[in-house]
């Protein structure tokens, strides 16, 4: 075992912690009660464990926790602010873009990373970017609609 001290930002709060090299980020987060990121395929395929590091999506199931040193981590628990849902979350609610909800945290975070790098994506851009997030209920159409709607609202300033 080999532990090291790391500091990073988790959902806008600076953190300092000691962690073993071989601990996976998903286990680290879930052990802290942040259970929005879900273990599922455990092999970077399904997207249920998606979290953002410096604004980009990662599979927490296959990322070492020590990789977040000096970086900014965002989980679904940090997306709403002061009790207000993020516009992407609102769009998911408005468009009924969830069924069982298991994939939803990963979907919302992946969509957030997309809209931050590409605020006006085409449907094809969305399909390509979201391809690695699986909805086992197959509710894809409403998810794509929600992302298009969130982008449109942000573009017109109503978001």
């Amino acid at each position: 075992m080999s532990a090291r001290k790391i500091s990073f930002v988790l959902n806008r709060r600076p953190q300092e912690t000691e962690i073993d090299d071989s601990v996976l980020l998903l286990d680290f987060l879930r052990d802290r009660g942040l259970t929005g990121a879900k273990p599922s395929c455990e092999m970077e395929v399904c997207g249920s464990c998606t979290i953002l590091i410096d604004g980009l999506p990662f599979s927490a199931c296959t990322t070492l926790a020590v990789e977040v040193e000096g970086r900014t981590v965002e989980t679904i628990e940090g997306v709403a602010r002061n009790g207000e849902l993020h516009p992407i979350q609102e769009a998911f609610v408005e468009r009924f873009a969830m069924q069982c909800g298991f994939c939803t945290p990963g979907m919302v975070l992946t969509a957030k990373a997309l809209l931050e790098s590409n605020p006006d994506p085409s449907r094809d851009d969305i399909l390509h970017w979201m391809e690695g997030n699986i909805c086992r209920c197959t509710g894809y159409e409403s998810i794509v609609e929600a992302i298009l709607s969130a982008a449109a609202k942000a573009g017109t300033g109503d978001g």
Partner: protein, 286 residues
Amino acid sequence: MPMPLHPFVLHRPDSAEEVIELRSALGEDAALYAGGTELLSAMKMGAISYEHLIDVKRVPGLREIFDQDGSVHIGATATHHEIENHPVVVDRLPSLAKLTHSVANVRVRVAGTIAGNLAFGEPHADPPALLMALGGTVVVQGAKGRRSMDIAEFCVGAYETGLREDELIVEVDVPIPPPGSVATYMKFQVLERPSVGVACLGEIHDGRFTSPPRLVIGAVDEVPRLVDAAAIDGADIQDEAGMGAVCDAASRAVDPTDDLSGSADYKRHLVGVLARRVLRKLAGEP
């Protein structure tokens, strides 16, 4: 179910020399580590286990992408996401930018690196076939200095590469195709990895192949296979006999296995179909 990772020590050297020293000292107990997309997955499955991981992401200069002396130099730890979006790659090697854009999913592209992809030696990978068609080389550094290998020398077998125990990949150099030539890559994929990927670099002038195209079949055999395309040297793009002969040669150049991504016969069929499509693409056909 995956188990927690067998405990290991993570080393974070600041120079290529330190990586080489660690590799020499630790031998088979250590693995090089960058994006972890292949390595950590395999470790979670219990397929492999190491006492030490050597993180190469802190070695300075290893992540740069630049254009020099007719080649694009891609640093070992450049991620797929960085490569697909890098203006030099988009401008000079659009075929590689497009291929990289379709590797796995966005999370794997954000974490995974070009060197990791090559070093893991996964047979069902996208980049090796196109890199071979383009004449790319893998530059490695060891105790005795640097050397470079072409893709055929580097990709030795399934999960086997020409990288020696004390070496690390420092960059991948890809010659910029000459004006008039077209590079292309097409794949067929039903699962997380391609069933077949076919790459081609060639030139068509006035409806004729100006030279034998470099046609490479990837992701279906243990290593990418270069196909003998002499039959269409100078041939008309409409010359069915020549085209048919090369596509047959492509199907015979590989030794596929039956697996979830298709039967061996089906994959051979796909190879022929995709070979024809990439050759036609040289003529600007969709």
